[in-house]
């Protein structure tokens, strides 16, 4: 299925994926192909994408909307930072930016800490 993640500052990610997990306002949820149509809010957290080659990618978002249809997903985020890069320094920079994004968006320390640990563990797998 297709996913596209856009912010007011441009496109963040677009492509074919197998599975995606979102930080929905009612709790985390995963989407596979053929999911029934759904619209919901996102809260600060990370979107985890599993691509067709089983590689995972992590994108931090502050808040936004997600629209799910059986064959595609549209994410309209206010701010999003992909945790990826080709070199170690680039990845470290992305992690810092992602953490800052979540920190600015959330006032709960527990949430910030959970998300930060998720981002870091995802970064180890890159």
């Amino acid at each position: 299925m297709k996913i596209s993640i856009v912010t007011p500052f441009g496109k963040i990610y677009e492509g074919e994926i197998k599975e995606a997990t979102f930080p929905g306002s009612e709790g985390e949820f995963g989407v596979l192909e053929g999911h029934s149509p759904l619209v919901t809010n996102l809260k600060p957290g990370v979107i985890t994408i599993r691509k067709n080659d089983n590689k995972e990618e992590v994108i931090a978002v502050n808040w936004g909307y997600v629209e799910v249809t059986p064959d595609h997903i549209n994410v309209l985020a206010e701010g999003a930072v992909p945790v990826s890069g080709t070199s170690e320094s680039e990845i470290a920079q992305a992690i810092e930016k992602a953490k800052q994004l979540i920190k600015d968006a959330s006032d709960s320390d527990a949430l910030v800490a959970t998300v930060a640990s998720k981002i870091e563990s995802a970064a180890r797998n890159i």
Partner: protein, 294 residues
């Protein structure tokens, strides 16, 4: 025939104008580049949010009556609309502003013919000046927003209209502006924002789940609001890029015209100079000849 001195002053003044127009063209080129970048970055989001709201509206077709959101409802009778017109704050950009004004006047006639009342909200000094001059009443006039688009201010303007729409004071919001296509062309857009249109009508019985379930109206309502705010903001960005591209073109044409004029004037100047030289020579030669006879 003009004298040499007169011609010289004229050539100099045209050359000065040419310098100004060239400088203005360069400034516009630089500004266009920035406006273009901002536009391209936001284009994707604008396209997506439009797609998403339209898709949602399509899926809600069957349950429209049970949902208490006016943006998705069917409105049978349109009595009053908000007409939001966006032009530039500055002139010297060819027909850019006038095209928008012309389209607006046409739209006003069209709506009047259907007995629909209009509230005119004008953004941009040029259109404000025009409507004030011809004496068409404006509901709201906003200056200084088109030259520096700002999300908060754009949202403020459109939210007032949206609230009136929700309170059933108005039945539609129409935006008219001149947008950017590429460096050489601009295109007039007339957008009817509300109620959100269903693009391709299908009668599929599609089901849509909205989470949180007990409060789905808040989610949809906030999405619609975001959509409207963003479209307004995007309109301003589009208009700004269009303005700079129009000005760039206008100033380029002006520079070329000035160049052509300097060329013509120089030809004339040389002709007059040649004539006076010849005349002087003839005078001297005749004088010498006359003196020889004595």
């Amino acid at each position: 025939m003009a004298t040499l001195k007169e011609l010289k002053t004229k050539i100099n003044s045209v050359k000065n104008t040419q310098k100004t127009t060239r400088a203005m063209k360069l400034v516009s080129t630089a500004k266009l580049k920035r406006a273009e970048e901002a536009l391209l970055l936001s284009r994707e989001y604008a396209r997506k949010i439009e797609e998403v709201t339209s898709e949602i509206s399509k899926k809600l077709t069957l349950v429209k009556d049970t949902i208490n959101i006016r943006a998705f409802a069917d409105i049978n009778e349109i009595k009053k609309v908000d007409l939001i017109v966006v032009t530039a704050d500055k002139g010297l950009c060819g027909g850019f502003n006038h095209q928008t004004i012309k389209t607006t006047l046409q739209k006003i006639e069209e709506l009047k013919a259907k007995n629909i009342k209009i509230r005119l909200k004008i953004i941009g000094k040029k259109a404000i000046e025009y409507f004030r001059f011809v004496g068409i009443e404006m509901y709201e006039a906003i200056e200084g927003l088109t030259s520096a688009p700002n999300y908060e201010k754009a949202a403020e303007v459109i939210n007032k209209s949206y609230e009136d729409f929700v309170n059933e004071e108005i039945d539609n919001i129409i935006i008219i502006y001149n947008g950017y296509v590429n460096k050489l062309t601009q295109k007039i857009h007339v957008k009817e924002l509300l109620p959100i249109e269903v693009k391709n009508e299908t009668n599929e019985n599609e089901f849509l789940e909205v989470e949180p379930n007990d409060d789905y109206e808040t989610v949809l309502e906030s999405l619609v609001k975001k959509y409207i705010e963003y479209i307004m903001y995007y309109t301003l960005l589009d208009s700004l890029a269009g303005e700079h591209s129009a000005r760039m073109q206008a100033m380029d044409a002006a520079t070329n015209n000035a160049k052509e004029m300097v060329h013509q004037l120089t030809l004339q100047f040389n002709k007059v100079r040649q004539e006076s030289v010849t005349r002087e020579l003839i005078e001297i030669v005749t004088a010498i000849e006359a003196m020889k006879k004595n």
